[in-house]
Amino acid sequence: MLAYAIKRIGLGLLILVLVMVAMYAAVFLVPGDPASVALGPRATPELKRLLIERMGLDQPIWWQIVEFFRNALTGNLGYDVWSNRPVSTLVMEALPNTLILGLTALAAALVIGVPLGCLSVMRRGTVADAVIGVLSVGVIAVPSFVVAIYSLLVFAVTLRWLPAIGAGEAGDIASQARALVLPALAIALGWIGYIARMVRASMMEVMGEPHIRTARSFGLPEWKIVSKYALRIAIIPTISLVAVGLGSILSSAVFVEAVFARPGIGKLITDAVNTRNYPVVMGTVLVMTAIYVSITIAADLLIARLDPRVRDVFRG
C-alpha cells in the first residue's frame, strides 16, 4: 500500500511539472510578446522592457521554468504584474471560496445522489425507480449555466429568498451559507442525476453477482445487502467518476462565480488571462493542478482501501 502511494504521488509530481512546461510553452507560442499585448500599442519601449524584465521574459524559457519551480518550492509563486502583490496571497484569498463552493456542491450531489441510486435498486421496476430515472436524466440534460440563471431569477429576484450575488458578509456564517446555496445548486444538480444513474447501473450489475445470492441465501435483510454487500463494490466506479469530475466541477465554478459575482479562483484566472497577467495565471494554474492531482491520488488510494484486490495488484 505504501509503495503504491509513493508511486502515485511521484506520478502526480511529474504531471505537475509537465503541465507547467506546457503552460510556459503556450505563453512562448502565443503570437506577439506579452508585454506589448498587455501594455497596448502606445507603450514606450522603456516601459515594455521594464515589464519584460519584471516578468522574466528575457530569460531563456527553460531557465524561466527552472526558476519558477525553484521559487514555488519556497512558496513564492511570483508577483502580480499590476499590483505587485504576491500571487500566493491572491490565490490563498480566492481559494477558500472556490473550494467551499466545489466541495459543498460535491457533498450535496453525493449525499442526495447515492441514496437515490440505492433506492432505485431496492425498488427496481416500480414507479419510484422510473421517477428517479426520469428526473436524473432530466437534471443531467440541463446545463448548469441554465440552472444558475433560472435559479437566480426564481429564488433571488422573484421570491427574494436568497441573495443574488457575492459570497456573504465576512464573519457571518449564516449569510455565507445563504450565498452558497444557489451557486452550489447550479453545480450540483446535474451531478445528483449523474451519480444516481451511475450508482444504480453499477449496483444492478453487482446485485446479479453470485455473492449477493449467497448473502440472500443466509437471509440477510435487503437493506443490509444493498448498503454493505453491494454498495462497497458499486461505489468504486462512482469514486473514480467523482474524482475526474472534480475538474469539471472546478471549471464550472469559473462561470458560476461569474454569474453570481462570487470572488474565487475562477474569477482570478479569468481576470488574469484578460489582462495578460502571466505570473498570476501560472501560479493559479499550478495550485489548481496540484489540487486536481491530489484529489485523483486520494481517490486512487481510497479505491485501493475499499477493494483489496486492487491493493494486491499494486503491492510491492
Binding site: P210, R213, A215, R216, S217, F218, G219, I233, P308
Partner: protein, 321 residues
C-alpha cells in the same frame, strides 16, 4: 433443529417474454431428519430450480404449483419476510461456485459474522469464536488468521470449506449443497467429499446434494432422485439406483459414466439427441425422443409412476408393461 422436507406434485414455471418455461413438473420428494438425498441429472434438467425452490430463492418471474413444505410449513405461501427468516436459520445453501460465492471486498470473518445474524443471542466475539471453531472443524488450519483473509486470498478448495462452514454455523435443519464439487479439481473434490462424509456422521438434519457427478452421489447419499427435463424419472435407495436402475434414462446415464467402464473404449458413449424444449414439453414421456425402448404409447400418454419396490419408483411405460 430438525424437520422434514416434502415436495408433492411440485411444478415451477418461469414466465419469460418467449413464453412459459416449464422448468419443473409434478415432482415428488420426501426427506426426513438424518437422511442425505441426492439429486442427479444433466445440465438443464431442473436440479437447480428444485434446490432454489427449497431455499426460497426463486426469482420473481417463477410461478409455483403444487406443494413444497418444510416441517409442514408451505414455503411458497410464506410472505417474503417469513421466507427470509427461514433462510440462513433453518435452511442453508452451499452455493455452486466457491470462487464467486463470497463478497470480494469483505473479509471471510466479517461475512461469516453477518451470516449468523439470526443468532441475536450471540455477541460479535462469540460469533467469531464459533467461526474459528467451525473453520477448524472443516479442516482449515490457522483459522484465526484466515478470518482476516479476503476470499481471493484463499484457494478454491479452501473457499468451498469456508462455504460449508458458513452453512453449518447456522445449525440448519436442511443443508443444501448445490454442485459442491463441480468447480474444483479432482484432488479437491475428493477432499470435499471426504469432509461431507465426516460431517454427515454427527449431523442430524437433512442434507440435499445436487450433482451431475454420479460418483459424488453414490459416495454420499442414502436416496437418489434422477431428474430429466424437469421431471423425476426414477428415485430410490442409492443401491437400487446404482445396481438395479430401471428407467432407460438412468441406465443410459450410468452407461456414460467413465468411472464405470469395464474395458477400454474407443469412443465415449453418449445419449443421442437433445433435451426437449421446455416452453412446450412433450405431451407423452419427456424422454421418448431419445429412448431406445420406446413404445407406441410413449409419444402420446405421460407415463405413470410405477412402484418397483418399497421406495423404488420409475416413470416409464416400458417398465410398467
Amino acid at each position: 433443529m430438525s424437520g422434514s422436507l416434502a415436495a408433492s406434485n411440485l411444478s415451477v414455471r418461469y414466465e419469460t417474454p418467449g413464453g412459459s418455461v416449464h422448468a419443473l413438473r409434478h415432482v415428488d420428494i420426501e426427506a426426513h431428519p438424518g437422511e442425505v438425498i441426492g439429486i442427479v441429472g444433466e445440465s438443464g434438467c431442473g436440479k437447480s430450480t428444485l434446490v432454489t425452490a427449497m431455499a426460497n430463492l426463486l426469482p420473481a418471474n417463477a410461478r409455483i404449483d403444487g406443494s413444497i413444505s418444510w416441517n409442514g410449513i408451505e414455503l411458497a405461501k410464506l410472505d417474503a419476510h417469513r421466507q427470509r427468516l427461514l433462510r440462513g436459520d433453518e435452511i442453508a445453501l452451499v452455493s455452486q461456485d466457491p470462487m464467486t460465492a463470497f463478497n470480494p471486498v469483505l473479509t471471510i470473518g466479517d461475512q461469516l459474522v453477518d451470516f449468523q445474524h439470526h443468532r441475536k443471542d450471540l455477541g460479535r466475539a462469540e460469533k467469531r469464536a464459533r467461526i474459528a471453531a467451525m473453520l477448524g472443524r472443516v479442516g482449515i488450519s490457522d483459522a484465526e488468521r484466515r478470518m482476516h483473509s479476503y476470499p481471493h486470498e484463499l484457494s478454491g478448495g479452501m473457499r468451498q470449506r469456508v462455504a460449508i462452514a458458513a452453512a453449518l454455523l447456522t445449525d440448519p435443519g436442511l443443508l443444501i449443497a448445490d454442485e459442491p464439487t463441480t468447480a474444483l479439481d479432482v484432488t479437491m473434490e475428493a477432499q470435499i467429499i471426504h469432509l461431507l462424509r465426516e460431517l454427515r456422521r454427527d449431523y442430524n438434519g437433512i442434507i440435499v446434494i445436487v450433482s451431475h457427478h454420479l460418483g459424488v452421489i453414490a459416495e454420499l447419499c442414502d436416496r437418489v432422485y434422477v431428474m430429466y427435463a424437469g421431471e423425476v424419472v426414477e428415485s430410490g435407495e442409492v443401491d437400487a439406483i446404482f445396481h438395479d436402475a430401471t428407467h432407460p434414462y438412468t441406465q443410459a446415464l450410468l452407461a456414460c459414466d467413465p468411472a464405470r467402464f469395464q474395458q477400454k473404449l474407443d469412443r465415449l458413449p453418449t445419449i443421442p439427441g437433445m433435451l426437449p424444449n421446455l416452453t412446450q414439453p412433450p405431451c407423452g414421456c419427456v424422454y421418448a425422443p431419445r429412448c431406445d425402448r420406446v413404445l407406441a404409447s410413449c409419444g402420446t400418454v405421460a407415463p405413470p409412476l410405477v412402484e418397483l419396490s418399497a421406495s423404488h419408483v420409475a416413470r416409464c411405460h416400458a417398465v410398467s408393461s
